[in-house]
Amino acid sequence: MKISVRQAINDAIKEEMNRDSNVTIFGCDVGLRGGAFAVTKGLLKEFGEWRVRDTPISEAGFTGIGIGAAATGLRPIVEILYCDWITLAMDQIVNTAAKKRYMFGGKINMPLTIRAPFGGGDGQAAQHSQSFEAWFNHVPGLKVIAPIFPEDVKGLLKSAIRDDNPVIFFEHKLSYTLEGEVPSEDYTIPIGKAKVIREGSDVTIVSYSMMVVKALEAAETLAKEGIECEVIDLRSLLPLDYETIIDSLEKTNRIVVVHEANLRGGMASDIVAEICDRAFDFLDAPPERVGGLNVPIPYCSCLEQLVIPSTEKIKKAVYKALNR
């Protein structure tokens, strides 16, 4: 069955809402409008407004409501329409959702999923294009996932909803129309497992979300030059599957880590540092990182396209990894 990411999300939520009557959605325009990206279409009608709640523009408040609801028996899904605005809910997420179980000696449960569309590329400028996954990677108590293909999106979103921990689920804003096969039966994909989506022996490219698509493109063109890249789609960022990366690195001895978020302080740094810790001897060349440039996302496409990593830049990084 071939469906879009949009459909995959909609299906995942609908199936989980049918499966578990405690699953409840909160967010701006998730109900009547069916979501700004139409991912929650039809759910209000099917489940009613107590389970599909259109909220006011109160990100801190409705995230906090999700947290309180999670602590008292519901299994909420909170949508932060653009991840840029998750900044408004940072206190609730970082100081309460992530810490409540621990601070309370394990006496409270926090089955909360926060969906946060992220990424740029469509001219929406500095306040509508960001990628903040690295922040959440730094917060013990959270899980963070960012799959890109419909099968993974659906299976991981279902796992996130069923998970008893707070999970931040990043979906790329430009991915909603991306199509792919999904199993027709009920399935989940475990949080914390990466996937080798292309085999190769020369260089390992590690990436997630939209950059996986670009990494694949780069790999295809490099293949024509005789360079075989192994491409790993991390899918989950916290926990992160270092085993799969290191297995690949053992074979290729060269690694390029790619993400859209700006490079400084991004996930790639953490991955590179961890690889140095765990597999320094496998490295035949310095680990390479490709990330967004360290500027806010500019409005005009001519500049924006310079900020977001291109296939070309990924290729260059691969050459660099190979040239020494």
């Binding site: 701006c28 325009d29 009547l32 409008r33 069916g34 700004a36 259109d54 909220t55 006011p56 523009i57 109160s58 801190a60 408040g61 840029d84 605005w85 408004l88 469509d122 001219g123 929406q124 400028a125 500095a126 306040q127 509508h128 440039l293 360290n294 500027v295 806010p296 500019p298 409005y299 005009c300 496409s301 001519c302 500049l303 924006e304 310079l306 900020v307």
Partner: protein, 347 residues
């Protein structure tokens, strides 16, 4: 002859205030200027859909059509060195406060000649020279900014007041409360102007507000709360004028609710699946341009001079589009890291 409004609309819009008399302190010249600005904003934002469809702009844009009375009425009550803060639906505020439509249009086109050198786009137009502290893509976030500007005015002994435009949606943000509380407590020269157009994207205000009569919330800050007809530029002018006088006299902020209806879609290509766009059209009866035109004609302004103004507005926008389209340039890659840090320091 009074301006005709259907009973249906009058019932649905109890804050309707007939445009019988211009405020005394508005000269005919002022009124003609207002009429021009109403038209200029309408023309400007009526272009947006076309530009978007033709892929002329980079991101998205929100039309101020139907809202013009608020920006024009409010800014008419302000001086050049007064400040405003704006929203995602900000072109009207910028133009009414003295913004140059060539530069707004160039910015929407993403050109280096635009107000923000192509880096901000529709949602972030600013012109500090004109006291325009910038539009904001984060609903509600400019509330505190406005209070900060008002705070500056006091410390620096400036006579400026600051008008903080925001939507009904913005009133649900925490910072809305925090900002008004501090401004009220310290009696800062700031005016909180809620454009209550009943909708925030696809969500009606009454579905998400415990107290949708925003002006009544003023009690919570012990400041005056004023309800006004947001389709009526004179009414808005009067409300802002008196609030500005209060503010300048050190008596603190005012909360003004300008009520109207968002007749157009949320953004330029909104399919409005959440409501029936056709049903909205009756609200055009309250079109501030039609109402003001009617008023001016009733008051013996020759229709021809009004038509001239309308034409001028049209031409000015065509000119702006032509300018943005043909006389402007895309930013060059070397400007990418410019403007990030002071003195273009690169980090």
């Amino acid at each position: 002859m009074t301006y005709k409004v259907s009973k249906e609309i009058l019932d649905a819009f109890p804050c309707y205030e007939a445009m019988d008399n211009a405020p005394e302190d508005l000269s005919l010249d002022d009124q003609m200027k207002m009429y021009y600005l109403l038209n200029l904003i309408r023309e400007h934002d009526s272009k947006l859909k076309e530009l978007w469809m033709a892929n002329k702009m980079c991101g998205i844009a929100h039309s101020y059509a139907g809202h013009e009375a608020i920006a024009v009425g409010a800014c008419m009550a302000l001086a050049k060195d007064d400040y405003i803060t704006s929203t995602h639906r900000g072109h009207g505020h910028v133009i009414a406060k003295g913004g140059d439509v060539r530069k707004t249009m160039a910015e929407i086109y993403g050109r280096v000649e635009g107000y923000n050198c192509g880096k901000g786009g529709s949602m972030h137009i600013a012109d500090v020279e004109q006291g325009i502290l910038g539009a904001a893509g984060i609903v509600g976030s400019a509330m505190a900014l406005a209070v900060g500007a008002a705070y500056s005015s006091v410390v620096l002994n400036k006579k400026s007041v600051t008008v903080c435009f925001h939507g009904d949606g913005g009133t649900s943000q925490g910072v809305w409360h925090e900002s008004i509380n501090m401004a009220g407590c310290w009696k800062l020269p700031v005016i909180f102007l809620t454009e209550n157009n009943y909708w925030a994207v696809g969500t009606e205000f009454t579905r998400v507000a415990a107290q949708p009569e925003v002006y009544k919330r003023a009690v919570a800050y012990d400041i005056p709360g004023i309800l006004t007809d947001g389709f009526n530029p004179f009414a808005v002018y009067k409300a802002v004028k008196s609030a500005a006088e209060r503010a300048r006299a050190g008596q603190g902020p005012t909360l003004i609710e300008a009520r109207l209806m968002r007749i157009v879609g949320h953004w330029v290509a909104d399919d409005e699946s959440y409501r029936d766009p056709k049903a909205m059209e009756v609200w055009w009866q309250l079109d501030p341009i039609a109402r003001m035109k009617h008023y001016l004609i009733e008051n013996n302004v020759p229709p021809k001079s009004l038509e001239e103004i309308e034409l001028r507005a049209k031409n000015d926008i065509s000119d702006a589009v032509e300018y943005a389209e043909n006389q402007c340039n895309d930013p060059t890659p070397d400007t990418l890291f410019k403007d990030l840090y002071a003195n273009d320091e690169i980090i």
